[in-house]
Structures are given as structure tokens and as C-alpha cells.
Symmetry: C4
Subunit: 506 residues, 4 copies
């Protein structure tokens, strides 16, 4: 056992030890390789870094990345100085708000989780989850694009019993949705991605495990129940050996689908996340002292330097050689690439722009879906959608079961939902995710009935009018002088209480 | 006569008696069948429930639904404890506002009633009347869709006398409108639906009586004058015998049209209405005590559990067998179903999305009208619209006579108006409905003249430009950084009073 | 000479005398015929009504409408009680604001006049001038429709000298505009329409004299200089003899064009104007006393009851028989009526919706222009526009010379401008109108240069892109829950002053 | 050496001497020729005018424009009265804000510079830089037009290395952009245009030197490093000899391209700039004294009176005769003029509307680009874009590298950026411009990767969807009465702190 005092002496760039989860590590030589920069580590040189470490890294990140000989062994807990943790006033307000959350029964839609989460989450967590590329236009477009698709519901069909279960990549799911992969789950809640696993298990829906999870891959798999299906999202490492090990381990743990992310050769600029760094007054002080400031580009960049921007079509052959899992390309955004994917023999594509977090002005998945279905039908005469052999998934911007049903009508097999579940557990933990799934379930049941659809097979293209979907309207800027002159109509109003009488009494 | 003290002993789930309109009922065995849940009844176990009962149920609801042997007889009024009714401060403010309503002469348009009603109605009533499905987008679209139809008025036609009367299902009406069916009329005013009946009688317009009226069906019929025409809106009961009894009774009372609602196999989620329940602090207390809270889904759900989601085309034959009234399908939303309705030999359809209260992103009736007219003309070569044999009605979003005239130009026989009349009587009682009808009458007269139309036959398709009607534009989300940087133009301004002089004196 | 005391005795419905401009009139029998209702007259029974009378009537209205024997002769001024005029606090504020108007040199565009006029005009005047039909949508559409027309300017053309004069109905004008007819000019300024006459004379532009002017027709003609051209706008009286007298008198005074209004068989509902009446607390008091309240429908209705709603195409022949002035139909709104007008041999049409004051959802003149030009070319092969023989005018919504140039490019001979000139003189008198004309002149000069046009002949259809002009877009209503959750991007900001330091000192 | 006292005697219109940069000039005869009017000079009659002179004029303006004999020689500095400069409170606030600028590392996008510059620039500078024509609609359209172009990014391409350098008019540039010409650079920062020169040199991008620079032409050229390329923007003088001298001097100094401005025969009305003049209370005082006020039309008009509105196509031959520099027409706005330019043999055109500062409702460069490329391909079969021989440039509204890449995809060789760099140095001097270029560089790198483009040759038309680009949508004006009645959806909310408890304590 190493004493706290000994650790404390290694508090410099020359010799830098840190404590994580009660173990001591010598990270001196690792400092310059740390994706998040050396400065953040040096802040904890000679100290316990667990609290800062936890939400950003899986538990095994340090043991995996650091050579065995740098694992110096357990620290003597009794020798550690008790640090009195100062609770900031911001944090106090946040905790106090947690107590004033509405009852979960008052949550009526997925929107409600976001409204509450925004108030009760730590600000950096909210900034990381909600942020998107540049002006966040694609992020918002993802949602509003669904508003360009309108229903053509049928009446007088027997909808006593409606069934909206389906199967995705061969697995049964209770609804045509899945929980898509999102990074750094513990930022919002200490149980992180496991909240999603457990709720998904209860509701019979599939969870896609992210490469950049806060929980370790095995923790997440272990949290699943026997009958439960999980998929894996993969950022391909420049070091293909690590990728191979990761993929084959996943297959051995029973993962049923490999979703290779293809829209992120480099992680996008997310200014909300980046700006959060500068709120920290520390950065400013350092600069005034003349030291170089980290070009801190937010959490996203810090954790993603291993991703290979050289990944290309030719690599698909290798992936097929190392796994039998169905391979799906996540992040396809044109019919041309969907056709190429089909010709390369993958099991499907996710039409996605990464939740608007990568390229601003990328089109929404639902818009791309219409184009892909039309062109695939030209490419493969006789092909129909949704298709079993070449599955189309869509994600981004979904908040209502109606959004999902629009995608299904237009040919999608299933729809991924991400942020809403993060907000659900950031506000209410696992119970929040369960409530979210329950809300969707209720919405599906009602909307199937209102559409006149007994099963998803009845949700056909003629049930929607999507003619305006690819219309990217930006209005002519307003005439501000005219507008400031125009006086709005004012309707009838309740009379003012008689000020006269009051005045008379004074 | 039963004494109040006796009733008071039956105040539990084991034995639950309540008093309604001076009669005692044993509802113990009915508790679990109550559409609104047992909890709300138990709150009045052993007590007088009349005040809570009244706006939600027709007077005969309890006698109809409870077996004769549970009707225990009259309570002894003198034995009842006088409950001192506490007027809440919210209620006081509301009543005080009622006194400050503008004179009815100051009401210039249907919008004005809504502005006043919102202020002077009990909040739950307003929530129930105004609420709609999900994000209420269809609700608002119903109104704004009319703004995509523009007039092409003709000039230099003799419009000294204009006549906008017409006949609907064989009955003369003074204007091409009718008062459509809406539920729970007493929420807004103690006279409920009878306000509508009496005003309709005076103005020679038709009223459609709702299944879910607060007044009993017979009360509403009795309130009519001799020459007056009424229609009936029907939610079809799972128990067809009850439906048959209801329909045949209506026919026997002289009802002239049977409007079967086909867009509501399940009543929609109306979050404004649902959220209202949680404003009641009682709900929270119960939860803190660990008891289960009702999944209270608002007034709409509570009262509608009897509706049959299995209703289908095949049932139409049966309806024709039990009544000679013309049958109209209310809630058709595609040309396909309009054609099926025609082929099934019904007398017409109402192109309606239930005031936006059922499926969000259903299209507006006025938009569906254009599609139906075009396709019906293909289906039945030579058919013209408006058509006597197969009548097209539209409802939803109407606020001006111009809205109605647009629908007429596009082929509608008549247009249903609902909420505006509810707001009219919630603000001013029967007088409000009369004023609303007077306003519409004046608007019709003027706008017929301005259109250059002597009769409704002159209101032809060429009088409108509806080319943009089916365009569902959602703009690209704005660039918030750019917008926050852009400084609006500022025009010339009145100079500030000379602050300098004032400052000098200080 | 009649004494004030004598007049004062005739202060009832039974015998009602009033004084106007120092003369006494017996209006007892006229009370029920007064277009504005009897109540407003009875308010002045036995008193001097001049101040109320003046802005609403031409000086000769009373002498023209009242039989000679009711003209009782001059009042003895010395016998009149000096009424101490109470200046209301609202009026005080308004007058004080007049003192703080910006220098006229600070007025940079026509918008600026409106901004100032709104502040310094009496409120009823502003309400009357600015009001429009129903929701004022056509009123605003008139302006924004111009924003759907974009320029295609040409470069490298010698624009040292540019000439934007033209001729309208055979008269030279310094710019392709005219001052169109608007009613009740004295509401905004005591000199009323004469402000327009004098400024038009100085700038060589044509003024159209309104039937409902506050100044008498002859006053306005007398205010013109020799070389000046004036047109006349005509509301056709049910009594054609009066119309004939009026038209022939106009011709004899040198009027060069007769513009017959065809879009106003009944004057529109203008709620801003109507609501103004109820702001007057008097109305409420009367009602509380149980007396009947006038259905006061605003200034517009009061003054227009003489207009003939029976006017029709057949009447045109008669008009041609009584005058040699060119006849133009003002208020044509479809190509069908433009073609009929052409076939009836009139000299032109004004494509106008009466400034949005008549039928809401009538299309803008600029939109109708495109349709008329296209269809007239089909109707008369080889016809070109602008055309000398059949002139097209447009009015409504114009605020910039660019608006006018767009209309010219699309085929208009000239463009009418109304409200901006009213605002100009309401804020600055005649000088304001001159400044407005100067601003337009400067804008024409600059914009001709920037368009690459030496004369108006160079302002051709290819200089504009008007493809979107007839697109009546109404966006899908927004998703308010999503919007309230979305947090806008926030850019870099100036740091707060160091609150810490300040706090430390406290 | 002339004494200050002597100068001070020449303080009138009859004899007016001023001091600039320590030299005395007799400007008496020049007073009426001064483009900015005589009044502003007379304000400094007999005094030192350097501070007012500097940001508006190049240093050599006075020596160039005034005959040698009026250069009276140096003033004796010791004889000058030390004027105590009064720092206004506005200026104090501004300077104080400068101290509170965020660190330059906190600047994340070009938008951020504008946000900061707006706060820390002198107001007249901001007004001059940001102002645009009329209602500034084209100014804003320039930016938002880019929002109508959406990406179609490709995936699984090796984007390890991306190269976005190109060559413009034969010169290599590190990015497909250049710094375009803008006037009066010293208004925002004392080093003026030299800030741009130096940063451009470091980043290998081309700077276009404006005719109306605050620094002299030679100062700007001298500030460049050896390898650096500069272009020249030319306003053609009515006096062609001056133009010839200027052009040939530029060529002799190594300028590589001559951009002749063709969209400004007269400089536009820029109301923000014009209004700024009236903020100066001096103007009002003069007027009250009855003196004539300058029709001050802002900085733009004052400095541009020499520009020849007679410039035309025929002049191009002469330009080719006096220089061998490639000639480009700046301000072409239609395909017709692009074709004419091509036929006249120039090297390219800038599709530009002068940053929205000239003709309001001129279309954006990016919109015109699509039209020009299509029509040029018809005009010259086989021609491809971007083209080496006939280069297309676009400017206006650019804020992101994605904007530039959209233009490149649609056929532009390069894109000009102006205001953002002015804001960059107005906020942070040269370092700001460097940071701006660094941000663009980072954005290019990332977005090339996200588009799946290794070089600019991969940025092809199929990578964008620009179908909606020429759609000039202006929505139907809203129904204000409906909107004011509609109550927005309100989601779940954090409960209020228990007011009850607090109240209980009171």
C-alpha cells in the first residue's frame, strides 16, 4: 500500500502520479498522449483524480491504456487527506431543483424530460449532450423536418387490437425503435448507460452500446437480462488490432449487430460544449500568467483522437472477415452511398447526421430516407421497403411516436432515439427511461388506432404526404422598419379595474 | 327519505353511497366501472357529489347506468349538513373579471369571444375546450390553412341584395354553417348546450347535438323551437343495443341527420387538459403517501371509454337498417375514404380532424376538401360540387365568414363551427351565441358583396386561389448567432425630453 | 342674427339646432338620415358643432344636404358662451410630442413619416388612416408582396443622366407615381387634402381627389397651380343625378381622369377604427343607463351609406355619355375583370384592393398585375405593357421607389401611393409631403442608376424575378414544446465587470 | 515654421487654414469642392484637424488634391495650444469594454468577432461598416441564402489528409477565399487595412486593396511580405488620367489583379450610416439658429463623388490598353452581364451586390452563381466550372467555411470575405484577423473531411442540394388576433419553492 504522502510528492510534470479508484498510477510518460491534454491531468498530480475521471472515461480506460508497470498498486486510504469538498452555489441550486422535480406522472411527453433535465443536470453535461455542430441548424432541422410530413389517416378499420412490434436485424422488438448510441453517459447520471440497458430490457427494445460509453462495455452487457438484444456502435481505431479485439469481444458477448460510424472521420465543432470550457475562470488566469492555454475544443474532441479518418470502403472486406455479426453503416447521407453500401453487401444503413453534431447543413435522416428508397428501387427493380435483407434505419430529432410512424410509412425498418433517453435518466434515472418508453408505447397504440393501422404493415406510403420534405425554405428577411411601424390588431379586453375610484380614495 | 347521517356512514370502498340531485345512490359495485376512475367517486363517498357531477355528466347518466335497485331514493334535505363553500382566490378573481367584461357591443369578431372567455372561464373548462392533440399543430393548422386560400373577387355586379342562405341535408339554413358537436357544454356555462339550441333557433341555423353533452339529449331537443332543425353526433358504443336505442330515440324526436364520428376510435392525448389535473395539489399529496395515483388522462379520456374502436365499414349496413335518418361520416380525412363512403351510399362526409384533438399532423379539412372534390370527379364523371346527394362538410379553425366562403367556393355544402360558439356562451351566455351568429351574418353580407356574389351559386372555384393549400412549409431553423449580431433598422424617433435640463436642476 | 341663447333652447330630439361655421341649422328632421347616426348630432344640440364637424365633412356637406329652409342664418358671435376648451392629458402629451419631432432632415424614408405620425396624430385619425379589413392581412400582404420580387440589375451602362418621368393618361409626371385618393384628410392635419395638392404641384405629380375628402372638391382644385393635373376618384351615388352633377362639375374644373371605385359596394369592416369608438367611455355610460347604443361601425361606415351597391357593368355606358374624361376602374382584382374592362372600352384599370380596407385575403395589386398582363396578352395578341391605350395602375403597400420600379418592370404605367403621404402631412404638414416626394425622387434617381436604366423604357420584365409572387406561404405552426426546450446559441460576450471586487468592498 | 497663432487667425470661410500631420494647408478655395461638404472643414478652421482627418482619408489625400502652393509648410509644434482632449462618457464606456473583451481563445467563429466588435468599436465606425442599402434586406439575404443550400456528404473516403488550397488568377492560396476590398479601414482600428495585409501574408491568402482605403495604397503594399499577392479594387474616376495613373502605379508595385467595381455608379443609401450623423447634437443646434444644414448622407456618399456613373462596356478596351493585369468585373448580378463580360474577354467576374450596400432586393451572389454557371454552359458548350480562364468569384454574407464550400461546389473559383475581417481587427487588431483565418482554416479541414473531399476537385455540384436557392419566400402576414388568443403549450416545470412555508412564517 502506498501512502498518500508519497503520492503527493509526485506532483509535477517531471513525475506525475495520480490516484484513481484507490489505485496509484504513474502517468508521467503518458501526459503528452492524453487525448484531453496534459494540463487537466497535472491539475491532479499527486492527488486523487477519481471524481473528474469517472464520467469521462470507462472504468478500465486507465488500466487498458497504461502499461502494467505503471500500475503502482493500491493507496492506503487512511493516509489520504480528507478533502473537504466545497459545494458551489451553482451546485446547491441544482441539487435543490432536483428536489422540486415534478412527479414522474406529470411527465406527459419526451419533451418534458428535456425541460426538466436542462434544469437539474450539471451544466457541462447538458452542454455536451445538447450541443451540435456550428449553428446547430441541422440539429434543429432533424426535428422540424418531421413537421413537413403530414398524415393521411384511414377510418372505419377495426383497430380494437393494434400491434406495433416488429423485428430489427432478426430480433423482435416491442416497438419500431431502438436506443441509439451516445457518448459519456455518466455525465448525466452516475449509473450512465446502464440506465438504458435496464429499461430497454424491461420494455423489450434494443440498445446500441456506444464506443465512447462512460460505463465499460462489459458493465453494460452485464446489466442486460437474458432475453435482451444489444448492438454495438463502433468508432474504428487507427490501430486495427484494438478494433479487432473490441469487435470480437463484443461478438463473444452476444452482440447482435455492428454499427460502424461513417460520418465522423473527425468529430464536429460543438460550440456550446467548447464555450463551456471557458466559463471556467481558471483558463483565464493561466493566460494572464503568460502560460499557453490548451486549445480546449470541448469534451467531444478530447475523447476522439483515436478515430481513423482514413477508414474507407475497402475496409469493409476486413470487417466481414473478423466477425459474423451483421454490419450496418451508421451515418450514410446520400442515396449514392446507400447504393454503394448495398453493393458492398452490408446488412443495412443508418440514415443519420449524427444528431446534427457533425456537419451543419447536412440533411435530416427522414429527408434522405425518401431519396434512398426511391433510388434503391431504381437500382434493384422489384425491391420493396421496409426490406428485411437491407434494412434502413433513421435517427435524429424524434420526439413523438408519430415521428417514428412517418419514417416507417416512408420505408424505414426502425428509428433510433438518443438524446430524449439521456434527458430521461438525467432527470429521473432508470425510472425516467422506463417512463419514456411507456409514453412512446402509449403514443404508438393511440396513433396506430388513429391512423387506422392494425400492424406496421398497414403503415404505408399513402398514409403520409411528404411532398414538401426536401423543401429548404428560408424566408426573405423582414422589413424591420415596416414591422416596427405596424401596430398589431388588439382584440376585446377585460376592462381595467376602475382606477378612478381608487384614485378618489387617496 | 334517507337521512344525511345514514348516507355519511357509507363512505368507503366497501360501501359507497353518494347523493346526486337530492337522490341517494349506492355506487359500491360501480366503482371500478366508472370511466373516470374510482378515486374521484370515493372523494364524495357518503356526501353530496352534485356540483362535481353536473358539468361532466348529463343529468340522466347515473340513473341510466346504475341498476334500479341501487337507486336508494331521496335524501332528507333538512338532515344534510350545510357545507360552507369556500370560494378560492382564483375563483374570486375570475368572478371579478366577469364584471369587467366589455359590453357585448364591443365584441367585433369571433376572436373577441375567445379573448374574453379565456379570462372569465374556469381554468379547467378552458383547458378542456381549447386543448388539442400533442403539440396542437393540427389544431393551429386548421386555422392557418385558410390563410393559404386567397380571393379573386369580381366587380361591377349588382350586389344590392345578397342571399347566402342554403339547404343542408334538405333543411333550409340562413347561412352555410352549422353549430357542430362539442362535449361537456356545462363546463363553460350552467345552461350548457341549451345556449346553442336557443340561439340557433333564433337565427335559423342547424345545431348538431353531441353524444357527450352535459345536458341530456332530451333537454337539448326540448329547448328547440318548432321549426328548428337539429342533427345528432354519435360515438358508437361497444354495446350496440345502447347505440340502437339512442339512435331510434333521436329519430323519434325529429333529428334530421346522424353524424357518426369515425376519427375517434380512441380519444386523443390532450396535454393541456391532462396537465390541468396535476395543478391540483391533491394529486401530489397522495403520491407522497405512497398510494397509487390515477393515471388521470384528462376529461376527454375519462368520459370516452365506451367508444368502440372496432367500428368498421361493415357496420354501416346495420346503421341503415335501424334508422331512416341520413347518415354522414364525421372525420373522413382522405379522398380514398370519401370515395368508400360514397360507394357505401351514405349521405355525405364531414372532412374533419376533430378540431385537431385526435391525430396531430392530420391535415386540415379545407385541404382535404380540395383533394376529395378532385378525386370524386374522377370517380364519378360529371359529378359537381357542392352536391345535393353526397354532401361535403368541413369543420375546424373557422373564425370568419370569409373562411366559410372559401370552403363553399371549393365545393363544400356547409361548414361546422364549434369552439367559437363555446367561447361565446362561456363569456356571455346565450346572448354571446346570438351575437356570434349576428357577426357572421354581417360578415357574410359584406363579403358576398365584396366578392361580387349575389347567391352562394356565384361563389365558384375561380373565386379563390388555393394553389398553395397543400404546401406544408417548415422553414430552415434560423442562425441564432447571426440574428443576435444583426442590429435591426431603427427609424426616426421622437426626441427624448431634454434630460439635460432636468439633470441641471438636480 | 340669431342669438346663442335661442339656439340653446333647441337642444332636443324634438327640436334640434346646431351651429356650424357661424351659421345655425335646424337638423331636427335630418337626425334619422344622418349617416353617422343621430346620437352624435344630439350631443351638440343647441351648441356649436364646428370642431367635431370639420374633419369628417367637407365644408359644404351641410348646406348641400339640408334643404334651404333649414339654413336659419348666422349666429350672433357675441351672444355665444365662450366654452373653455379642456385640453385632455392625452392631448397635452400629443402636443408636447409634436415639439419633439425630429428635424425633417432626419426623415430618411417614407417609413419614418409613419413612425412619427403615429406618435403625434390624434389617435382616432391614426386609427382611421391605418385601419384595414378584418385581420389586416391583405393590408400587410400589399407591402410584403413586393418583397417577393427581386431585381436583376444590369451593369456598365452609362447612367450619368437618368430620366424617370413618364406620362399617365396623357399627362406628364416627373415620376411614375401619383397621389391616390384617401378619405377624411383633415383628421390628420387642418389643411387636409390641400397639403397634397400644393406639394404635388411643386413636384409635378398627379393628385387623385377623393369623393370623401374633408376639404370641398373646389377647395382642392383651387389649391392647384395652373400646370397641375388632378384626377377624381368617384364613389357612385345611388342618386345618379348627384353623381352626374359631381362628374360634370369636375370635368368643367379641368379634371383629367375619372377613377370609378368598383371594389366598395359596401365599405369594409375596419376593426381598429371601430374599436376606437368604444374607447370613448361615454358609450359605456349610456349603455348602463339602459339606452340603446349606436351600432357604431367606425368612421368609414358612417360616411359611406350613399354608395350604390347596385353599380354594374351596364352603367359604364351611361358614364361615357355624361363625360369625356377618360374613365378608369379602380379596384379591379382579377384578369377576368381587366379583360371585361378592356372590352368595355375604358381607359385603364387600377389593380387595387383599396389598401387592404375592403376584402381581407384579396390579393395584392402587384400580384394581380402579373396575371393581368399575361392574360391581356393572350386576349389581345401583340399587345405590350406598359400600354398607352389601356393603362394599368397599381396601388397599395408602396414604401420605396424600388417598389414602384418593380411594378413598372412588370407592366404598370404608374403606381398610386396613399397612406405614406397622409402620414407625411400628419407629421409635418405640406413640408412633409414635399419631403416625401423628394425622398422618392432621390430614390428613383439612385435606383435607376443601380438598375442600369436610363429611362423607364429600360425597366423591363427581365430586370425582375417575380416567380415567387403568387406563392401564399403559411408555415406549419411551430412546435412550442420543442422551441421552449431549445437553448439558443450564445456567442462570445464582453465579460461582466468584476462583481467580486465590488462585493469585496462592501 | 508657422506659428499656431498665425494659423488660428485663418479661421473663417474667407481664409481657412488647417493643420494635418504637423503641416499647414490653405483650404479656402477647396472648401466647396470637399466631397464631405465645407462645414466639417470649417469646424477645424485655424486648428489641427488630424484626428478627424485620419480615419476618413489616406495620408496623401490632402497633398494629392491640394495644389502645391497651398501647402504652407510645417507648423511650430511648441506654438500649438495643448488642447485638453475631453473623453466623452460614451468613449469611456467603450474603452472600459475593450478591457473586458474575452480572450481571443474564446472566439469560436467569425460571428464572435462581430459580437465583440459591435461593443468595442466607435459607434460611427460600426454604423459605417455594418450599414447597407434601404431596409438591409439584401444584406441579410446574402447570409441566409446560404441556408437554402444543403450538403450531400459522402462517406468512407480516406480523408486522413485533406487539401483545400487552390489558385486564383494564377496565384496559389491556402484556402479558396480572399479578403475583399472595404473602405475606411481606420475607422475600426488605427492600423486600418495593414492589419489585413499582415495577417493575409502569414496565412497565404490574397488581399484586395480598396480604392477608398484609409491607409495609402503604398502603405498597404509596403506592409506585404515578398511572397504575398495583392489585388486592387478600382472605383473608376471621372478623370480617367487619375485612374490611369493609379492603375499603372498599382501594376508597377506588383498588383496581380484589377477588380473594376461595376455595381456602384452611385453609392447606395445606407440609413444606419446616415442616421448616425443626426445623433450629433451639433446638427440640431445649427438648424435652430436658422442656418442651412448639410444634407449629410453619411460617410459613403461623402467620399465617393468622384466615381463615374458613365462607365460602360466600351471603356473595357481602354482598360486593357493601359494594363496587363487580369481585369475582373466586380458586381455582376445577372447571367446576361456575365456572358457579356466573357465576350469582352475579361478574366472573370465577381458575382456580388456590394455586401447589400447598393441596391436593396438585389439577389445574393450565391444565387446568381447558379444562374451564371448554367447559362455560361449554354453559351460556351463544353465549358466547366470552376474555370481557369474565366473565373467566378462570389462575395457577401459568408460566415463559415461551409458557406465557401457550397459556392465552390456550385462552380465558384474563390469567395471574398469582407466585414468579418473588419470586425476581427476592430475587436482584436491584426491578431483578430489571424485568428479569423485560423478558424476558417480549421473549419475547412474539418468540413472537407465531413464532406468526404480530399481536395477541392472533390467538392462537386452533387455534394449540394441548391434547388430552393432562388425561392424568395415571404410568408402571408400572421393573424394577430388568433395568435394573441392562442396559448402556447407549456411543458413540465420545476415546482416553485414552497411559497406556503415562507408565507406561514410571515
Amino acid at each position: 500500500m502506498i501512502s498518500g504522502a508519497t503520492v503527493a510528492q509526485h506532483n509535477s510534470r517531471e513525475s506525475c502520479w495520480i490516484i484513481v479508484h484507490g489505485k496509484v498510477y504513474d502517468v508521467t510518460e503518458f501526459l503528452d498522449d492524453h487525448p484531453g491534454g496534459s494540463k487537466i491531468i497535472l491539475k491532479y498530480a499527486g492527488k486523487d483524480a477519481t471524481e473528474e475521471y469517472d464520467p469521462i472515461h470507462p472504468p478500465d480506460a486507465i488500466t487498458t491504456n497504461l502499461p502494467k508497470e505503471k500500475h503502482l498498486g493500491p493507496v492506503d486510504p487512511s493516509s489520504l487527506q480528507k478533502t473537504v469538498k466545497v459545494v458551489t452555489s451553482v451546485e446547491k441550486v441544482r441539487k435543490e431543483k432536483l428536489n422540486r422535480r415534478p412527479l414522474i406522472d406529470e411527465i406527459l411527453s419526451l419533451h418534458d424530460f428535456e425541460a426538466i433535465a436542462k434544469e437539474v443536470m450539471p451544466l457541462p453535461a447538458w452542454a455536451y449532450y445538447s450541443s451540435a455542430a456550428d449553428d446547430e441548424i441541422t440539429n434543429r432541422e432533424n426535428h422540424v423536418a418531421y413537421h413537413r410530413v403530414w398524415f393521411r389517416p384511414r377510418v372505419l378499420r377495426d383497430v380494437n387490437k393494434v400491434d406495433f412490434s416488429t423485428s430489427l436485424l432478426g430480433t423482435k422488438t416491442s416497438m419500431p425503435i431502438y436506443i441509439t448510441a451516445t457518448a459519456l453517459g455518466k455525465l448525466g447520471h452516475p449509473e450512465g448507460e446502464k440506465n438504458l440497458t435496464r429499461a430497454a430490457g424491461k420494455f423489450g427494445v434494443i440498445q446500441m452500446i456506444p464506443t465512447l460509453a462512460s460505463c465499460s462495455f462489459d458493465e453494460i452487457v452485464d446489466a442486460a437480462i437474458d432475453s435482451q438484444t444489444q448492438w454495438m456502435q463502433l468508432y474504428v481505431n487507427k490501430n486495427r488490432d484494438l478494433t479487432k479485439k473490441f469487435v470480437q469481444h463484443a461478438e463473444s458477448r452476444g452482440i447482435k449487430g455492428l454499427f460502424i460510424t461513417v460520418d465522423a472521420p473527425q468529430l464536429g465543432r460543438r460550440e456550446k460544449d467548447m464555450r463551456m470550457k471557458f466559463e471556467d475562470s481558471g483558463a483565464k488566469v493561466q493566460n494572464e500568467n503568460g502560460e499557453q492555454v490548451d486549445r480546449n475544443q470541448g469534451a467531444a474532441r478530447a475523447i476522439s483522437s483515436f478515430i481513423d479518418p482514413g477508414l474507407c470502403w475497402a475496409d469493409l472486406k476486413w470487417f466481414k472477415s473478423i466477425t459474423k455479426m451483421p454490419i450496418i453503416l451508421k451515418g450514410v447521407q446520400t442515396w449514392e452511398d446507400a447504393v454503394m453500401a448495398y453493393d458492398h453487401g452490408v446488412a443495412g444503413v443508418v440514415l443519420s447526421n449524427h444528431g446534427g453534431r457533425q456537419l451543419d447543413f447536412a440533411r435530416s435522416g427522414i429527408e434522405v430516407l425518401v431519396e434512398v428508397v426511391a433510388k434503391m428501387k431504381e437500382h434493384v427493380p422489384g425491391m420493396t421497403f421496409p426490406n428485411e435483407k437491407f434494412q434502413l434505419f433513421v435517427d435524429g430529432g424524434v420526439r413523438r411516436a408519430t415521428d417514428v410512424l412517418k419514417a416507417v410509412a416512408l420505408g424505414a425498418n426502425g428509428v433510433g432515439i438518443g438524446r430524449p433517453f439521456l434527458y430521461a435518466y438525467s432527470a429521473y434515472g432508470q425510472e425516467g427511461v422506463e417512463k419514456a418508453l411507456q409514453i412512446l408505447h402509449d403514443e404508438f397504440e393511440m396513433n396506430m388506432r388513429l391512423l387506422g393501422a392494425q400492424t406496421l404493415k398497414d403503415v404505408v406510403p399513402a398514409m403520409v404526404d411528404a411532398r414538401g420534405l426536401s423543401s429548404h425554405v428560408v424566408s426573405v428577411p423582414g422589413d424591420r422598419l415596416y414591422e416596427s411601424n405596424y401596430e398589431s390588431m388588439v382584440g376585446a379586453r377585460i376592462r381595467e379595474e376602475q382606477a378612478g375610484k381608487v384614485a378618489a380614495k387617496l
